[in-house]
């Protein structure tokens, strides 16, 4: 039988690169990404599963990394905001956020973009209603939702176009 351990060895693929570390069992995925791997694009906002600033993709699906243990993700694949662009070429969703100015202060933006990428992958070109409902888990305290919705609609159409 497996013996419970306070330290856990994890091998997590982050943006395509396998990272291997021994971490405390209680290490949150967002801490692992920011402090162990050193990728600080994933922000911590509310730290209580509400605001979505820490959203990353886990095997392609959006999750709030403040509410996932690094140990739970051992052997799986995580994509952060740093892993979206292809060199200097922005991901279509990033480009849409720039084009439509889908940000004000920018703090929520990495989480918004990651949530939007997951949403677009599941739902193809998105209606305004689908974007507004689909982004329920991401809060923007600048109240910049109007441009964010426009950006995600455009980005989802671009992603669907690129895929077909």
């Amino acid at each position: 039988m497996t013996t419970p351990m306070s330290e856990v060895a994890v091998a997590i693929t982050v943006n395509g690169i396998v990272t291997e570390h021994e971490v405390e069992a209680r290490t949150l995925l967002v801490q692992y990404l920011r402090e162990t791997v050193g990728l600080t694009g994933t922000n911590i906002g509310c730290d209580s599963t509400s605001c979505g600033a820490c959203t990353v993709l886990l095997d392609g699906e959006s999750v709030k990394s403040c509410t996932v243990l690094a140990a739970q993700v051992d052997g799986r694949s995580v994509t952060t905001i740093e892993g979206l662009a292809d060199g200097d070429a922005l991901h279509p969703m990033q480009a849409a956020f720039r084009e439509h100015h889908g940000l004000q202060c920018g703090y929520c933006t990495p989480g918004m973009v990651m949530a939007a990428v997951s949403l677009a992958q599941e739902g193809g070109p998105l209606s305004e209603d689908a974007v507004r409902k689909g982004l329920e888990g991401n809060l923007c305290r600048c109240t910049g939702y109007h441009n964010i919705v426009a950006a995600v609609r455009a980005g989802s159409a671009d992603m669907a176009g690129a895929a077909s």
């Binding site: 419970p4 351990m5 069992a25 209680r26 999750v63 709030k64």
Partner: protein, 276 residues
């Protein structure tokens, strides 16, 4: 916020999870999607010393046609319940309500079994399983047993599960062509329901309430009135009977009672239940 230190073990099978729970007793908790447990641990409202991670037991993630019922593996995520074709056709109330839990990120992690085991009266799915008169299959060192939803929720965050039992399956009857409704009243997107209502029509209408007591609760007076041929309006007027609505920042008990009556009225109208 980081949880208090604990020891972590990933179970390779249900039997191993049961054995680990047996060995570590009350100090151990099961970890599935973690979207009820980890927030409590971060707030230090829960401080288990051992977490038994069952999240990799893929054999507990399924939706299966069992004739008159649909069987759902305990580790089936809300996202998968929401989008499952069998459930959307035969138990649309459950699929629709699963799509109202939290937000997309939460639904990518949270599981049906985890939500029921947590037993939170403010959660959406316990009330849905109550309204559907579903049952919960639990496996422990004493073997497997089937617990009716009505017997499952005991006290605040307390269920009929023994410390070493794992929810392996949830069974819900197919509702056929019966109407259904899920009403969730909150002030902000993604919040818990201030009050919620799950309702299904048919020969024996089922109505259950979210956040109207220390457990998810059946609206027994409403159901009885409907059985006796009451109108939807008369039945809905009884929605707060037998409840014990909590008071918090969002609402007083009186406001919740009012909401229950209004929301049950809306639900029954959508279901098409009650004499017109």
């Amino acid at each position: 916020m980081i949880p208090a230190a604990f020891e972590y073990a990933r179970a390779g099978s249900v039997d191993e999870a049961i054995a680990l729970l047996g060995e570590h007793g009350d100090d151990a908790k099961l970890l599935a999607g973690g979207h009820s447990l980890l927030p409590l641990m971060k707030l230090r409202l829960a401080t288990p010393s051992v977490l038994v991670d069952v999240g990799r037991l893929d054999e507990l993630s399924y939706v299966r046609d069992d004739g008159d019922t649909v069987a759902i593996g305990g580790l089936t995520r809300h996202h998968d319940v929401e989008h499952n074709a069998l459930l959307r056709e035969h138990v649309p109330l459950l699929a629709a309500a699963a799509g109202e839990v939290g937000d997309p990120q939460v639904r990518h992690r949270g599981t049906l079994g985890g939500s029921l085991a947590h037993g939170d009266p403010a959660s959406d799915l316990p009330a849905v399983v109550l309204a559907l008169r579903g049952s919960i299959v639990a496996r422990g060192s004493g073997g497997e047993r089937v617990i009716a939803a009505d017997d499952f929720f005991r006290e605040f965050l307390e269920t009929a599960l023994a410390p070493d039992e794992v929810i392996t399956e949830v069974r819900v009857p197919k509702t056929g062509a019966a109407g259904w409704s899920f009403q969730k009243f909150n002030r902000r997107a993604q919040d818990w329901a201030i009050v919620g209502v799950a309702a299904v029509g048919g020969d024996a209408p089922g109505v259950a309430l979210v956040n109207m007591g220390s457990t998810p609760v059946r609206a027994a007076a409403v159901e009885a009135a409907l059985r006796e041929g009451a109108s939807a309006a008369d039945a809905a007027a009884l929605a707060a009977e037998g409840t014990d609505a909590p008071s918090d920042l969002n609402a007083s008990p009186e406001y919740r009672q009012h909401l229950a009556r209004v929301l049950v009225g809306r639900a029954l109208a959508e279901v098409g239940a009650g004499r017109s």
